[in-house]
C-alpha cells in the first residue's frame, strides 16, 4: 500500500513539473551539466546493451569505399568530413552532431553499427532507411574506422573516386548549374563510360537495359526496393532525370569482366545458372538473366561477384521490398544455399556480355 | 454379537474422547496458506482444483479454435480464415486438446480424488505434484499464446517430418511444439510417478487391490501407460529438435534417415494415448454408475481384467495409424489383429455398466445423463473403430472426415462426457453447493444433440471423399450439407459448455471443508467428511463400498476413532501401506507449502521456451536456477526418523524406511522405468534404421576403434566397483563417511569419463552426427547417456554434501540409495549403449 502511494506521488510530481512549464526546452540554452551527464550515461549504456558482438571483416577496401561514398553524401553535412566543417546550422542543434573523427574510437564496431542502423532519439540522428540491409550499414562502419586517420586528400580519393569535381566558373556556381560536391553523382560509385565501379559491392550499370535501369530507380524512389544508400538518392530524382540516367547508362558499352571472385566455383555456378536445380526447386538463372532474356530483367554477365552475392543474400534474408521484381526473385533466392550463391555469383562474374548494341563487333 | 457400546470401546483403533487440541493441531499442520500465498500450497485438494481449472481453461480455448475451424468450413471456398491461420489453428486444436486438456484433466481428477478415495491425507510427493501442475500451466499458456504472435506450429498435432523439418518448416513454430510439448510430457510423467506411488503405497489399511475403487485402478494403469508410452514421443521430439537445431538427419531420407521412424515413435505413444485418456474416464463412469444405481458394480473383476488388457493391447496398435504407408501386408495383419483384440475389453466394460444399471435402479440425474450419453456416443465410436481397424476399409477412410468423426466419438464420447458426468457427480464433495441439476440437464441436451449433429455428418463427409486438414473445399462434391450441419452442431456444443460455465459461476463454491456432502449416498471414501487434512482419521477398509457396508463409518472416522486421528510427529503425515494388501508399514512425513517447487517450474518452463527462441545464454541461466530450486526443495524432504509412533489400535509404525519399503525407492524405480523406456525406444530406432537403411550401415560409415569401447567399458567397470564399495562403506559397522564420499566422487568421475571415452572414440574415428541417420543415432546414445550421467552427478553431489554435513548416513540413506539406483541404471544403460554402437555394427549383418 505504501509502495502504491509512493509511486502515485512520484507520478503526480512529475506531472506538475511538466505542467508548470518550469523546464526550458530551448536548444539555445543547452542542458544542465547534470542532465547532460545523465542523458549521455543513459545513451551510452543503452547502445552498449543492444549492440551486436560480432562484426564482419571491416578492413575490406570495397566496403570502405562504399561507406566513404555514402558518408560523403549522407553524413558529412552534419558531421563534417576531413577538410570540411559541418554546416553552422547543425552546430546549433542540441545536441550538436559530433565530429566523428574524434569520437569513433570510443565505440566498438557493433556499437557504431547499432548507432548507424537505429539512430538516436531526440538527437536528430536518423535511423537507416532500409532496416533489412545490414550489409550496407557495415560499409559505413568500415569507413568510420578509417576516418580518424584520413586527411582531406585521401578522403576525397575515397569518397569521390576519380570523378572530377569541377565547380566551374562563377556563373555555374551562381546559377546552380553545377553541384560543387558532386553529391548525387552516380559515377562516384558506379563509374561511367569505360570506367567500372570503384567497389565490387555495387552493380555495373553500363549496358543494362533501359527498362530495367529506370524501373530500379523508380523502385528505390518509392521504397519498393530497399537500400539505405540508393533510396535517398533515387527519391531526389525527378522522373525525367530517371529516364535520362537510364538512357545514359543503357547506351554505354558493357565492361569486360575483371572480377576475381575469391569464393565459389565457376563450374558449379554454371551448372546452376544454365540448368537450375529442380530437386531444390531452383530454376535456371539464364532463362531470365541471359543475353536473350526480357528487358525487364537485368543482365548478370560481368557483374562483380560480391555484388551479386550481397543482393541474393539480401533477397534471401530480408523482408526485402515490395516491387514486382522483388516478388519474383525473393522466393527463388530463398531456396539458394550459401554455397550456391557463391558459385552462381562467381559464374556470372566471369562471363562476358554478348549481343549488346554498344559492343564493338 | 457385540452391542454398540462394546464396539465403541473395543473394536475401533482409537478411543473417545479425543484429546482437546488434537484436531486443532492437525488443522494447523495441514492449513492451506492464505491469500496470494495459496500459490505456494501443495495440498492435493488445492492443486487438484487449480489443475482441473487449468485443464478446463485449455478445453475452452481449444474449443474456441474448433469453432473458428467450423466457421471456416461452414461453406465451400470460405475466406474467413487464411490457409496459414487455419493450419496453425487445427494444429493447435489437436495439440492443446490432447496434451494440454485431455491428459492433464484426467491427471487432475486423479490428484484431486485419489487421496480422499484411498483414505490418504495427501499424495506421497506433494511438491512434485505441485511442480508438475505449475510447469504444465506456465508452459501451456506460453505455448498457446504463440498463436497470437503468428509463431504457432502448423505441422499438425502429429508433426510428421519431413514437413516439420527445418527445410519445410523454417521459423520457430515447430520448435515451440517440440520443446513445449516435450516439456509438458515431462510434467505428465512427474504426475504419473506421483499417482503410481500414491495408488500403490498410500491406500487406507485393509484396502487390498481387490477392494480398490475402479477409478484408482484406472489411474494406476493410466500412470503406468504414461511411463511406457510418453518416452517414445519424448525421444522423437528430442531427435526432431536435434535435427532442426543441429542438423542431425534422423528423418531426412536423402541423408540416411527415414521419415517413417517418426511415425513409429509418435504412434507408439499416440495410440496408447487414446486409452490413457479413456481409461480414467471409464473409471469415473465405474464410480458414478453404481452410486446412481445404488448397487455395487457388477463385474468388478472383469473390469479390472479389461483395464489391464487394454493397457497391454493398446501398445500393439500403433501401426493402425500407418495402414496406408505401404508397409508389408503381414504387419498390417498383426496390427489389425491387435486392434480387434483391444475392442473386447471395451465391450466388457460397456456391458458391465449396463449390468450394473440393471442390477439397481438408475436415478436420472445430470451425471447419469452424461453417462448414458457417453454410452451412446462411445459405443458408436467403438463400432467405427472396428471398421477402421479393417485394413481395406481403412485404406479408404484413413485421413478423411470419417476418421475425424470416429475419434471425436471415441474421445469426446469416451472422455469429455464422462468428465462432465464427473463434474456433476463429484462437485458436492468439493463445493459448498452441488451444481444445478436443471442447468446440468440443459447442458447435457445441448451437448449431446449438438455433438451428434456436429460429428455424425462427418462420417458421411469422409465417405464422399472429404480429406482431413483441408482449410477449404470446392462446391459441387456434395460436401456442403454435412459441413454446414457440423458447424451448427459445433455451436450447439459450445452453447452447452456455456450453460455449464454459467452453472459453475452460479453454484460452484470451492471448499476443502464443509462441502455439500454425500448427496448421492455414494459408497466410497472420498465422500467422507473432509477438511484440509482430508478425512479426520484413516479408516480400516473391509469392502469395496465401505460407506455402504458400515453406516457408522463416516461418523466414526470424523470423530477420529480410526487410525492417525491427529498428527503424531507434528508434521504433515500419511500412512504408507504395502502395495498389494495395504498393510500399514510406516508413517511418512510429507512436505508442506513452499516456493522452491513453484520457482523450479517457472524456470524450467523458461529454460525450454528460451531455448526455443534461441536465447541460449538466458536459457542456461534459467536452467541452472531451476536446478538450484529443485535442490533447495529437495534439501528438507528427507527428514530423519522420529522413532516409532502410535497410530491407534496398538499399531506402532516407524517414521523412516529405506530400501524397497520406502515410497521414495518406488518413485526412483518408476523413474528408471521411464528412462529405460526412453532408451528402449532409442534401441528400437537404431535397429529400425538398420532394417530400413541397409545401404547406410557400416562399414560404409567410419567405425570407432576397439580402444574406444575397451576404455569406456573399463571405466564403467571401475565405476561399478566404486558404486559397490561406496554402498558397502556407508553401511559398514564403523562407517567412514569420507571414504563413501571419495568412492562416490571417483565412481561418478569414471562414469563421466566412460561416456566421454565412448563419444570421443566415435568422433576420433571421423564420425559426425551430421553425416547420416546412422551417425546421428550413434551420437544419440551418448546424448541419452549424458542426460543420465548429468542427473546422477547432480544427485551424487547432493548426496555427498549431505553426507559431509551429517544429514545422510547409513541409516538415513534415502538420498544416497536413490542416487545409487540411478547410478546402477546409468552403468547398465552405458554398457548397453556400448554393445549397440560398437558391437552391433561389427556383427557383419
Amino acid at each position: 500500500m505504501a509502495f502504491v502511494l509512493l509511486v502515485g506521488l512520484g507520478v503526480a510530481a512529475a506531472f506538475l513539473f511538466a505542467a508548470s512549464g518550469v523546464y526550458n526546452v530551448a536548444a539555445s540554452r543547452g542542458h544542465w551539466w547534470i542532465v547532460d551527464q545523465f542523458l549521455r550515461f543513459g545513451m551510452e549504456n543503452s547502445v552498449k546493451a543492444r549492440a551486436p558482438e560480432t562484426s564482419p571483416n571491416l578492413d575490406d577496401a570495397d566496403l570502405i569505399r562504399l561507406g566513404a561514398a555514402h558518408f560523403h553524401g549522407g553524413c558529412a553535412f552534419c558531421h563534417g568530413a576531413p577538410g570540411s566543417r559541418p554546416s553552422p546550422v547543425v552546430q546549433h542543434m542540441l545536441p550538436s552532431p559530433p565530429d566523428l573523427a574524434e569520437r569513433v574510437d570510443r565505440w566498438t564496431d557493433g556499437e557504431l553499427f547499432w548507432l548507424v542502423k537505429h539512430g538516436l532519439k531526440y538527437a536528430g540522428m536518423p535511423a537507416w532507411p532500409a532496416q533489412d540491409r545490414d550489409d550496407e550499414i557495415w560499409s559505413v562502419v568500415a569507413f568510420l574506422r578509417q576516418l580518424p586517420d584520413l586527411d582531406a586528400r585521401h578522403y576525397e580519393e575515397l569518397a569521390l573516386a576519380e570523378v572530377q569535381v569541377d565547380g566551374g566558373g562563377g556563373r555555374e556556381l551562381a546559377t546552380a548549374e553545377s553541384d560543387p560536391d558532386g553529391v548525387g553523382a552516380c559515377a562516384r560509385c558506379h563509374g561511367d563510360a569505360g570506367r567500372g565501379p570503384q567497389t565490387k559491392l555495387v552493380p555495373r550499370l553500363q549496358g543494362q537495359s533501359r527498362d530495367w535501369l529506370a524501373r530500379s530507380l523508380r523502385d528505390y524512389a518509392e521504397g519498393a526496393r530497399h537500400s539505405g544508400i540508393m533510396q535517398p538518392l533515387a527519391a531526389a530524382l525527378k522522373p525525367e532525370a530517371i529516364e535520362k540516367l537510364a538512357t545514359y547508362y543503357a547506351g554505354l558499352p558493357p565492361l569486360a569482366p575483371d572480377d576475381d571472385p575469391r569464393r565459389g566455383s565457376v563450374e558449379e555456378g554454371q551448372k546452376l545458372a544454365t540448368s537450375g536445380d529442380p530437386g531444390a526447386e531452383i530454376p535456371a538463372c539464364i532463362s531470365c538473366h541471359g543475353s536473350d532474356g526480357s528487358p525487364d530483367y537485368p543482365r548478370l554477365a560481368g557483374q562483380p561477384a560480391r555484388y551479386l552475392s550481397a543482393q541474393l543474400a539480401a533477397w534471401r534474408n530480408g523482408k526485402g521490398g515490395t516491387s514486382p521484381t522483388h516478388a519474383i526473385m525473393a522466393p527463388i533466392a530463398a531456396r539458394l544455399t550459401d554455397q550456391q550463391i557463391a558459385d552462381v555469383s562467381a559464374f556470372f562474374a566471369s562471363q562476358r556480355v554478348v549481343g549488346h548494341p554498344g559492343l564493338a563487333p | 454379537m457385540t452391542s454398540t457400546a462394546e464396539r465403541e470401546t473395543a473394536e475401533l483403533p482409537n478411543p473417545l474422547p479425543r484429546p482437546r487440541d488434537e484436531l486443532r493441531r492437525l488443522q494447523a499442520v495441514w492449513a492451506i496458506p492464505e491469500g496470494w500465498r495459496i500459490l505456494s500450497a501443495v495440498n492435493n485438494s488445492v492443486i487438484g482444483y487449480f489443475y482441473i481449472g487449468a485443464a478446463f481453461l485449455f478445453f475452452v480455448l481449444a474449443g474456441v479454435l474448433a469453432l473458428l475451424m467450423r466457421v471456416q468450413l461452414a461453406v465451400p471456398g470460405n475466406l474467413f480464415l487464411d490457409q496459414e491461420s487455419y493450419n496453425q489453428i487445427f494444429t493447435m486444436h489437436g495439440t492443446v486438446m490432447m496434451f494440454l486438456f485431455a491428459v492433464p484433466a484426467v491427471e487432475a481428477m486423479g490428484v484431486l480424488l485419489l487421496p480422499q478415495m484411498l483414505g490418504a491425507r495427501d499424495l506421497p510427493f506433494p511438491r512434485l505434484g505441485a511442480f508438475a501442475f505449475w510447469a504444465y500451466l506456465v508452459g501451456g499458456l506460453v505455448f498457446f499464446s504463440t498463436l497470437f504472435f503468428d509463431m504457432a506450429p502448423s505441422g499438425g498435432w502429429f508433426m510428421y517430418p519431413p514437413l516439420t523439418g527445418s527445410r519445410f518448416s523454417p521459423g520457430t513454430g515447430a520448435d515451440f511444439w517440440l520443446l513445449g510439448i516435450g516439456f509438458i510430457e515431462i510434467s505428465a510423467i512427474a504426475g504419473a510417478i506421483e499417482i503410481i506411488v500414491g495408488v500403490l503405497r498410500t491406500r487406507a489399511p485393509g484396502m487390498s487391490l481387490d477392494k480398490m475403487p475402479i477409478f484408482a485402478w484406472t489411474m494406476l494403469i493410466f500412470a503406468v501407460m504414461i511411463v511406457f508410452a510418453f518416452p517414445a514421443v519424448i525421444l522423437a521430439t528430442m531427435m526432431l529438435e536435434l535435427e532442426r537445431a543441429f542438423d542431425w538427419p534422423f528423418f531426412i531420407p536423402d541423408r540416411g534417415g527415414d521419415a517413417l521412424l517418426w511415425q513409429h515413435l509418435f504412434w507408439f505413444f499416440g495410440h496408447p494415448e487414446v486409452y490413457i485418456i479413456f481409461l480414467p474416464a471409464a473409471g469415473m463412469v465405474s464410480m458414478i454408475v453404481p452410486t446412481m444405481a445404488a448397487t455395487p458394480l457388477v463385474g468388478y473383476r472383469l473390469i479390472v481384467v479389461a483395464l489391464i488388457a487394454t493397457g497391454f493391447f493398446s501398445f500393439g496398435l500403433w501401426v493402425h495409424h500407418m495402414f496406408t504407408t505401404g508397409i508389408p501386408a503381414m504387419s498390417l495383419g498383426f496390427f489389425s489383429a491387435a486392434s480387434m483384440a483391444v475392442s473386447v475389453p471395451s465391450g466388457i466394460q460397456v456391458f458391465s455398466w449396463i449390468a450394473t444399471m440393471a442390477a439397481g435402479r438408475l436415478r436420472i440425474t445430470a451425471a447419469s445423463l452424461f453417462v448414458l450419453g457417453f454410452l451412446f456416443i462411445f459405443t458408436l465410436g467403438g463400432l467405427t473403430g472396428v471398421m477402421v481397424a479393417m485394413v481395406p476399409f481403412d485404406w479408404q477412410a484413413h485421413d478423411t472426415y470419417f476418421v475425424v468423426a470416429h475419434f471425436h466419438y471415441v474421445l469426446v464420447g469416451g472422455m469429455v462426457f464422462p468428465l462432465f458426468a464427473a463434474f456433476y457427480y463429484w462437485a458436492p464433495a468439493f463445493s459448498r453447493r452441488a451444481l444445478s441439476e436443471r442447468l446440468g440437464k440443459i447442458a447435457f441436451v445441448l451437448m449431446f444433440v449438438g455433438f451428434n449433429i456436429a460429428f455424425f455428418p462427418m462420417h458421411i463427409a469422409g465417405l464422399i471423399g472429404m480429406p482431413r486438414r483441408v482449410y477449404t473445399y470446392p462446391a459441387g462434391l456434395g460436401w456442403e450439407t454435412p459441413n454446414l450441419a457440423s458447424t451448427i452442431g459445433a455451436f450447439m456444443i459450445a452453447a452447452g459448455v456455456l450453460v455449464f460455465l454459467l452453472d459453475l459461476i452460479r453454484h460452484l463454491r470451492p471448499t476443502v471443508g464443509a462441502s455439500a456432502g454425500n448427496v448421492w449416498n455414494a459408497g466410497t471414501l472420498e465422500w467422507l467428511e473432509n477438511d484440509v487434512h482430508a478425512a479426520r482419521s484413516v479408516p480400516f477398509v473391509e469392502s469395496r463400498d465401505p460407506l455402504w457396508e458400515d453406516a457408522r463409518l463416516s461418523a466414526d472416522v470424523h470423530k477420529g476413532r480410526y487410525y492417525l486421528p491427529g498428527t503424531v510427529t507434528g508434521r504433515r503425515e500419511t500412512i504408507v501401506t504395502s502395495a498389494i494388501l495395504a498393510e500399514p508399514q510406516y508413517v511418512v512425513r510429507l512436505t508442506g507449502p513452499g516456493w522452491a517447487h513453484l520457482l523450479a517450474a517457472i524456470f524450467t518452463a523458461a529454460f525450454f521456451l528460451l531455448l526455443t527462441v534461441k536465447l541460449v545464454t538466458a536459457a542456461i541461466i534459467c536452467g541452472a536456477v531451476a536446478i538450484a530450486c529443485v535442490v533447495a526443495w529437495a534439501w528438507d524432504t528427507d527428514s530423519p526418523s522420529a522413532g516409532d509412533v502410535d497410530i491407534g489400535g496398538g499399531i506402532r509404525l516407524p517414521t523412516y524406511a529405506v530400501g524397497a519399503a520406502s515410497h521414495s525407492w518406488w518413485a526412483m524405480i518408476i523413474l528408471m522405468a521411464v528412462a529405460g523406456a526412453l532408451y528402449l525406444s532409442y534401441v528400437f530406432s537404431y535397429l529400425y534404421l538398420w532394417t530400413v537403411r541397409p545401404q547406410d550401415w557400416p562399414p560404409i560409415a567410419p567405425l570407432a576403434s576397439h580402444a574406444g569401447w575397451i576404455a569406456s567399458a573399463a571405466l564403467l567397470c571401475i565405476s561399478a566397483a566404486a558404486l559397490w564399495a561406496s554402498g558397502r562403506s556407508i553401511r559398514a559397522a564403523v562407517p567412514r563417511l569420507w571414504l563413501t564420499v571419495g568412492l562416490t566422487v571417483v565412481g561418478l568421475l569414471t562414469l563421466l569419463l566412460g561416456l566421454g571415452a565412448d563419444v570421443a572414440s566415435h568422433w576420433l574415428a571421423g564420425l559426425r552426427p551430421q553425416h547420416s541417420g546412422y551417425a546421428a543415432l550413434v551420437f544419440t546414445a551418448g546424448f541419452l547417456q549424458a542426460e543420465i550421467v548429468a542427473a546422477v552427478c547432480i544427485m551424487g553431489i547432493f548426496a555427498c554434501v549431505r553426507i559431509l554435513v551429517g544429514l545422510t548416513d547409513g541409516r538415513r540413506s534415502v538420498v544416497f540409495d536413490n542416487m545409487v539406483l540411478l547410478w546402477g541404471y546409468g552403468l547398465g544403460q552405458g554398457a548397453l549403449g556400448l554393445l549397440l554402437t560398437h558391437g552391433f555394427p561389427r556383427l557383419g549383418m
Partner: protein, 107 residues
C-alpha cells in the same frame, strides 16, 4: 486376498506379457527377415512363435487354477480371464501370419 510377491504379479500378468512378447517377435522378425534374411524364414519364425505362445498361455492358465492363486478368487479369476483374452489375441495374430504372405506389399 494374500500377498503373492513380485513373481506372483508376473505370473498373474503372464497372459498379456506373453502376448506382448509374441507380438514383438512376429513383428520384428518380419522386419528383419524381409530386409536381411528371406520371406520363408519369417513364416517359420512366426509359426513357431505362435505355437509356443499359445502353449505357454494354456499351460499357465491350467497351472494358475491350482497353483499360487488357489486361495484368492480375485487373482485366480482375473488371471484366468486375462489368459483367455491373451490367447485370443495371439490366435488372431497367428491367423494373420497364416493367411498373409510375408514381405509383400498390398498396393
Amino acid at each position: 486376498m494374500r500377498s503373492v510377491g513380485t513373481l506372483g504379479i508376473g505370473l498373474w500378468l503372464a497372459g498379456p506379457i506373453i502376448w506382448a512378447t509374441h507380438f514383438i517377435i512376429v513383428y520384428a522378425s518380419e522386419s528383419v527377415a524381409c530386409t536381411r534374411l528371406d520371406a520363408d524364414s519369417h513364416s517359420l519364425i512366426a509359426g513357431i512363435a505362435t505355437i509356443i505362445a499359445l502353449a505357454s498361455i494354456a499351460f499357465i492358465a491350467v497351472r494358475s487354477r491350482a497353483g499360487r492363486f488357489r486361495d484368492t478368487a480375485f487373482l485366480r479369476t482375473t488371471a484366468l480371464t486375462m489368459n483367455l483374452l491373451a490367447f485370443l489375441a495371439v490366435t488372431w495374430a497367428g491367423i494373420a501370419a497364416v493367411l498373409l504372405p510375408s514381405c509383400t506389399g498390398v498396393g
